[in-house]
């Protein structure tokens, strides 16, 4: 058996009196693509943000590469975050920098990569997401699909071991969803470990290794996509699927 790259043990998160995550224990193996689906407000974003400690768990463990992140000091957390790229619904590109500068910033400031090396790598990544001709553009001049692809390239520039996606296509016009999903699919095929929160059921069916169905602060169901979509085990999941597949 391979060692899991992420292992979550008894993870719980409260916002005040609001118990958003209630005791989650799951694991992600290297190279796996996990798709997390579930109703709005179910705690998917919170869960994802607990994985790279953007949110501090109230209790429980998040083990990354065998290390419990919740016990580390800030400095170590920073170095471990480098290894988990994150892509947000709203891209969060830095508007005061060009596309190229967006990608080069973290490798140069955090890893101390030279300008020349960072530039070279940035161009490679831009080619990978089909945007090398936009290297000197500012984010405001990009379409949503282009911006999200730059955001993916920016996260990849740190050479992460895992990529976390929080509804990467939810803010996009429908005609741009495909170009982003294609990039993600390529990434999965290259063997990247990915945890993806999405409502794109087609992507879940064709790319995911496992589907986690999350509602009311629990992972209600952990299944293969085939099983999950054709034969959901829990009533909560059946209910959810009947609503979105109509």
């Amino acid at each position: 058996m391979t060692k899991p790259i992420i292992e979550v043990k008894d993870l719980a998160k409260n916002f005040g009196d609001n118990q958003v995550l209630k005791n989650i224990s799951e694991q992600v193996n290297p190279g796996q693509v996990i798709v997390v689906i579930g109703p709005s407000g179910g705690g998917k974003s919170t869960f994802l943000r607990c994985l790279n400690l953007l949110e501090t768990p109230t209790s429980g463990e998040v083990d990354f590469d065998g290390q419990d992140l919740t016990t580390l000091d800030t400095k170590k957390v920073n170095t471990l975050r480098e290894q988990m790229g994150m892509v947000f619904q709203n891209f969060n590109l830095f508007p005061n920098m060009t596309v190229l500068e967006n990608i080069k910033l973290a490798p140069m400031k955090v890893k101390g990569v030279s300008d020349a090396d960072a530039t070279k790598r940035a161009h490679e990544l831009l080619q990978q997401v089909n945007l090398d001709d936009h290297a000197d553009a500012f984010p405001t001049s990009l379409s949503g699909g282009q911006a999200q692809r730059v955001a993916i390239a920016r996260a990849l520039a740190m050479d992460p071991k895992v990529m976390l996606f929080d509804e990467p296509t939810s803010a996009l016009d429908p005609e741009m969803v495909g170009e982003v999903l294609n990039v993600m699919q390529d990434l999965a095929q290259q063997g990247m470990t990915m945890v993806v929160v999405t409502h794109e059921m087609g992507f879940a069916k064709s790319v995911a290794d496992r589907v986690w169905f999350m509602a009311d602060g629990y992972i209600q169901e952990n299944n293969t996509p085939e099983e999950f979509f054709s034969n959901p085990q829990t009533e909560r999941a059946q209910d959810f699927l009947s609503k979105i597949l109509m």
């Binding site: 953007l54 994150m86 709203n90 969060n92 973290a106 400031k109």
Partner: protein
């Protein structure tokens, strides 16, 4: 108003200095005040130079300096002690506080040794016995005869002066208006806001002699000799200095030096002074004012910005007990500074801090305004930082950047765009508000214009000049700032 503020400050100062005072009284027997002055070789005299012929600004050999009979008295006292006289100008209101806080060694400013003042400072014998007159517009000469003719009218007097208190006490049905400087009062008279101005006789004579539109009438105030006499004030308990000064004062009285030498000499300055009263003639004075105003503004914005960055970071500190304490302190500071008048802060730094370290007025002014400005700038910065989308921080942190790098490379560059316009406004506001330091005698533009006014006896022209000068400065500054703002919006 201003007077009350000063009293409040003096009270705080008295409390702060409580122990100092008690120790000095206890040591009165072995008073070393004279020895101290002789050791440092200078005797610092505080005065409010807008009261000719007692003291006023005149251009001597192309340089503006304080002259008048009080300066002559001060020179004699210093000479008899074997030290050099240094003259320090400030508003009349601030004089006694300056004496109590050790900013000056003595005060000679046509001051009456009233019982109230005697409680706080020690006086020498009288060096000059004056009387009061009321200055009126020449056209009104038939209408007003003495203090009792002003029923239903308004007369003015210098705030904090004996004339002001006596005018209030000894008139009925007359409004008494106080202003800080006599030149303002004369301006008020000429613009018919006031029908008369009560002042000491020699001053009245000087004004009437130099302005053909003015006339003087006897005041007929009922006053004891001590109310119309002028004495030199020293800090409470400095017996040795008072004894030494009394020797000089007695000589002055015996040889009638004031009437024989000092007043005629002062009169000469007054004459030369009125020869050329064109504003152009005073360009150097105005230029100096602009220079100081800009120095104060630029320094204060610079230090205020640094303080503001630190304060805003402290206010946003997150974490343990230390961070909470820091946040609480910074918040308290900002609230306190924003909740007290800048004028009080300026006086507190100058006089209050003066108890511990002796800071020059300009430095005190810059410190006070920086401290004030820092609180406001902190809020602009905090607002600017908060206006940057939270997603920006999350993206940077998710890339492994530390909170420091995130702030420096991602948040601040974006925040600056929002902060810049407010910072520019603060700069322009400070060009104007820095005028407050004139009360502690820094020669910025307002202070300089007051000098020119008392120098030339022209009330409005200097005000018009500085109004234009202020506008040129603020307008130029706002153009320059706008240019940068536009440049920043481009990228």
């Amino acid at each position: 108003m201003k007077n009350k503020l000063i009293m409040a400050i003096a009270l705080v100062m008295a409390l702060v200095a409580g122990w100092t005072t008690t120790t000095t009284t206890a040591q009165a027997a072995t008073d070393d005040s004279l020895a101290k002055v002789q050791k440092k070789g200078t005797l610092v005299m505080g005065t409010s130079p807008d009261y000719p012929p007692y003291e006023f600004q005149a251009t001597v050999h192309g340089k503006s300096q304080v002259v008048g009979m009080d300066v002559a008295v001060g020179k004699k006292i210093a000479k008899d002690m074997g030290v050099k006289l240094v003259v320090k100008s400030m508003s009349f209101d601030s004089l006694l506080v300056a004496l109590q806080t050790g900013k000056v060694d003595m005060v000679i400013s046509g001051m009456n040794p009233t019982p109230a003042r005697r409680k706080n400072v020690d006086f020498t014998h009288t060096y000059y016995q004056g009387g009061y007159s009321i200055v009126i517009n020449k056209n009104d000469k038939g209408i007003y005869k003495d203090k009792n003719s002003f029923v239903g009218k308004t007369i003015g007097a210098q705030t904090g002066s004996t004339m002001y208190n006596e005018s209030k006490k000894q008139t009925t049905g007359t409004t008494v208006k106080g202003m800080t400087s006599v030149s303002d009062l004369i301006l008020g008279l000429q613009s018919h806001k006031l029908q008369g101005v009560a002042m000491e006789k020699p001053s009245a004579q000087a004004y009437v002699a130099n302005n053909k539109e003015l006339a003087m009438i006897p005041s007929k105030f009922d006053l004891s000799a001590s109310d119309t006499s002028a004495s030199v004030a020293f800090a409470k308990g400095s017996t040795a200095l008072v004894t030494a000064a009394n020797k000089s004062v007695d000589q002055i009285r015996k040889q009638n030096l004031v009437n024989k030498d000092y007043l005629p000499a002062a009169g000469k300055y007054l004459k030369t002074n009125t020869v050329n009263t064109s504003m152009l003639h005073y360009w150097k004075a105005f230029l100096k004012g602009i220079e100081y105003t800009l120095i104060i503004t630029v320094c204060s914005v610079f230090f205020g910005f640094i303080l503001g960055v630190l304060l805003s970071l402290a206010r946003m500190a997150k974490g343990g007990v230390f961070a909470t304490a820091l946040r609480w302190l910074a918040t308290a500071y900002v609230e306190f500074i924003r909740g007290t008048p800048m004028m009080v802060q300026v006086m507190f730094v100058y006089f209050g801090l003066g108890l511990i370290v002796n800071l020059p007025a300009l430095t005190s002014g810059i410190i006070a305004i920086s401290l004030n400005s820092g609180a406001y700038i902190a809020e602009y910065i905090r607002g600017g930082i908060n206006s940057v989308d939270k997603g920006q921080t999350e993206a940077a942190r998710s890339l492994g950047m530390t909170s420091g790098y995130t702030l420096r490379y991602v948040v601040l560059p974006q925040a600056i765009k929002n902060i810049w316009p407010s910072l520019g406004n603060e700069f322009i506001t400070l060009i104007k508000d820095s005028s407050i330091v004139s009360i502690i005698g820094v020669s910025e533009l307002i202070f300089q214009s007051n000098i020119v006014r008392s120098d030339t006896y022209r009330g409005v022209a200097p005000i018009a000049v500085i109004m234009v000068l202020y506008f040129i400065m603020t307008f130029t500054a706002s153009r320059i700032l706008n240019h940068f703002e536009r440049k920043m919006q481009h990228d």
